[in-house]
Symmetry: C2
Subunit: 314 residues, 2 copies
Amino acid sequence: MPPRSHLVPALAAAVALLAGLAAPSASAVDNADTATPPKTTQELLDASQPSDWRTLDPAYTLYMDLAAGRVVIELAPAFAPGHVANIRTLATEGFWDGLSLYRSQDNFVVQFGDVVEDGAQGKSIGSARATLAAEFSRDAAGLPFHALPDPDGWAPQTGFSGGFPAARDGAGGQAWMAHCYGVLGAGRDMAADSSNGTELYVVTGQSPRQLDRNITVVGRVVKGMELLSVLPRGTGALGFYEMPAERTPITRVLLASAVPVADRVALEVLRTDTPLFDAVVESRRNRRDGWYLRPAGHIDLCNITVPTRAPPAS
Amino acid sequence: MPPRSHLVPALAAAVALLAGLAAPSASAVDNADTATPPKTTQELLDASQPSDWRTLDPAYTLYMDLAAGRVVIELAPAFAPGHVANIRTLATEGFWDGLSLYRSQDNFVVQFGDVVEDGAQGKSIGSARATLAAEFSRDAAGLPFHALPDPDGWAPQTGFSGGFPAARDGAGGQAWMAHCYGVLGAGRDMAADSSNGTELYVVTGQSPRQLDRNITVVGRVVKGMELLSVLPRGTGALGFYEMPAERTPITRVLLASAVPVADRVALEVLRTDTPLFDAVVESRRNRRDGWYLRPAGHIDLCNITVPTRAPPAS
């Protein structure tokens, strides 16, 4: 018999290593001459300490509720304080409740907010600010930055800052969040200062890093990306839906802090400024289990998925 | 009124440049001191000549018919002659007809073929070969290779070969297809030579370049990716569907050459070995229209979408 029955677990075996949860360890090189097998990503995580994980600040966490489920978004005040403040006001006042995801462009973004037809009046933004200064980048000084070991074609340096994929010129220059899968940005018009946080997009395709430093990035989807990434692609220009009925209604967007503690999403995110995280990254750079015959010895910023977990029973 | 109504076209404006069809030209730098505005990608394509385009060889083109529509796949015999030959046999004999897409893992791949439950017997592979040698890479010598200008962290050199995203050590080393969005590969088990082309995957997420040279790549989806990328993510391990009813049935997979000429998909693909293609790439590396305030001056291989079009009326 042909080994077809093996081929399903086959690529599965490959993929276990890619899912973010199973690959050799940072000590692979050090251990090359010893009998100690390198740890997989999963083994590294299993051996993690409580201090390797963090919880989200509910005052800076958005829940987007769709019929299909809840999307959890971490806001990034360190990168876009003005936009994040406005978004918190908009969420608190229920701006997105009853609005929609009105665009899904394949291998690029989904976008949501208020679709205002020509000549119509949009939904009130309440006490939120109508205009904001652009926040494309910020001083690198004062921003924690945990650098990755590999070169990047788009920026002098890449790494993580507070759990967000980021880049910078160097310690003395500018820093900015990088457009990786799941990153949340604020749509704008031609003018740099034309975003106010009402119209937001989430990256659902190959990292469009050319947007870096051209638009204000405000956060990242931490959980629930699979609810956004499967939205049917719009058949209009740029993935806009041609018929209103094609849009996905947003039940509500609110701050986690507005939800009773017992009803919040129980979630921990791996810290990105620890030796454990370095080991996890190395376990993705060089996968030395039996399936990978040629470890890459490299990883791009946007290939790194920051692990999350349900809090362990205590 | 706040400019919210502007924000929809706003990001739209951004996105027009990303959609593969609207951005400044390769001559942007040369023209910086002149009054000639740089050409957009769309303008470059509009000025293209018939010789800038090619059609697919129907003997090496697969149609995957789903209830939602047709996916067009170009096979790559230059990279994987053994697998492509087997896949052509399998398609000719209707191997995938009535089988399913049985896996969809967010930000990674969809996979299709024959799900064989433990102890069950799989569908006959007819006259196809049960085992094949691995075809992870090939001699770069003799393979046309049109290099990109930018560095890449995963390989010494990247570019396009016959329309496929590719990488190589150099002209005297090995060459291989790169795992970009839409690339089609042959699932395998732990053994390098355990793929036979029956179980195939398509990349639907951030380019998993760590798979390069670890698995046999056999082609690329040229049209219809949006039919695969929106498949609900499986909730089982690695994105496998837990319930058979969740799988997406495959009506049939057949060679375009088996379809009457009048019923084939009318499609042209931009050649990737021309000065026009270089100009298109440059128009993506540096976007100098009014929206982009900071052109990147860089592009990664997997950020380049090869344009396609319906053949012009003649």
